[in-house]
Symmetry: D2
Subunit: 157 residues, 4 copies
């Protein structure tokens, strides 16, 4: 079985997020991990592109009914037709999760992953707070793609 | 069609959360709204119980395969067998969402609701932060059950 | 908890199917059952209409993201955004299943219900065959709406 | 993108079904297709085993929450936690579908695939009937694994 890392983030990425996601893809692929993501643009495209640049395998779990909405660096496209309910599958398929930037869809994936007991590493992503901005644990913060991949994979299965 | 309000929160509730959820159920039912929730214990039980105490209708969208896991105040039990992926359905079914306390499952529902463009009102619940504990918008904070129901329903459909 | 009967069938119904579905809705509601269906037109509309004509409760589990696609006789609309994957939920929610006419979507629901161990009663609906048209068991054949409701509810929970 | 063929069938397979499924896996992989299936035993195991014997890629979309329930010849395991609702994903991911033997779960996949407009080829599998055992179209009947793969792939995308 190919070991998988879930990488999540927005379908629109800043230049910095795009570069970070590509680097995460490259580093994870070099460690022998396949990438599983939402299969679309932005961070999802970048991480697939990075992984493919060093021969990694990429899996895209898509919200719609057709593989055509996958970005060009997806090897295995799984169209679900389930919309946002597919987010649970993206994080369920990886041993650990790296979140890069991201909006509400990414936040839902972070929460679902934590609920499943997976390690979630955040790179310029959401933080969890309660009681007037008091940070609460859950997301492991990383400073760089290298740091993120190391943290995500250190406890992986 | 019966108008529905989604109420989300943990399957274990503190005494205060339980009382707040019951009150939310009562107030929403008096406004003519049915309650849709995850159908289990804690906040979900309390909100159903409150709604039933004044003759409201309650819908429980359950993670497992059987209606038997519903709390005794659920009128319409929808067993999904989908686990956490059912969270998307709980928030999709209501016109607006009230979150009371809650853990990661609740956070995933908050995020999915915001992604769907629904109003989310929080009562002692999660806050959304970025960049070292800086609060970002999204969740409307309420001080009391009365406040929460008023805020949730003021813009409902 | 309100006991539910799943009624499945095509979104386009012949006149005879429409009349049969209305009658099934009326009879089930008089027996105190709520109706759960796919919430749309044709057989789904007819069964809801029949149930509402005698004060029954109707639940529509919809394929799309919005309650607006429900027929006018749906009381509780559950938009899933899951497309055809919502079919599993329609049959999972009822104690037994009545199939009226129907195309491939209905066949998938029949199969899922049988897989879940539910009783499935067919009214002018699919038959199951193997080995060159040899009928195999599974679906209980009914001759009339009255017969279908009696057969479906005789062993219900 | 790797082109995928969906292969469906029971988690318990007769010796003949097992051999046929292995042969289907080998032939499809030689044609450059990856296999997508439910990831478990019986026909699903056999088709993965056949594909791997000639270097093909195999994807298993699993009903439970953990990759551990995958058979040993699955390369990419997607645990869905969705139970039978995952059947829609298995057929949605392939360009065409081959059904080998199978029980009600397989029948639901056949129906969902036909509903999605996919070509479904049957090898000793279900037949579709109405009106007292009259065969109706939908499933293309194959006589051998070779025949099945040829029929399935001739019109693929």
């Amino acid at each position: 079985m190919i070991r998988l890392l879930s990488v999540i983030g927005g379908s629109e990425a800043s230049e910095e997020e795009y570069r970070m996601a590509e680097e995460v893809g490259r580093l994870a692929a070099r460690r022998g991990y396949g990438i599983v993501c939402g299969g679309r643009g932005g961070v999802m495209e970048a991480v697939c592109r990075g992984a493919k640049s060093v021969g990694g395998l990429t899996v895209g779990i898509l919200p719609g009914h057709t593989p055509n909405e996958a970005n060009p660096w997806v090897d295995v496209a799984i169209p679900t037709g389930m919309g946002e309910a597919r987010n649970a599958l993206v994080v369920s398929a990886g041993e650990a999760v790296i979140a890069i930037g991201g909006e509400y869809g990414t936040l839902s994936e972070i929460a679902l992953a934590l609920k499943m007991g997976k390690k979630v590493v955040g790179l310029r992503s959401w933080e969890l707070c309660k009681n007037g901005g008091k940070l609460v644990g859950g997301i492991t913060k990383a400073d760089s793609p290298r740091d993120a991949v190391a943290l995500a994979l250190e406890e992986a299965r």
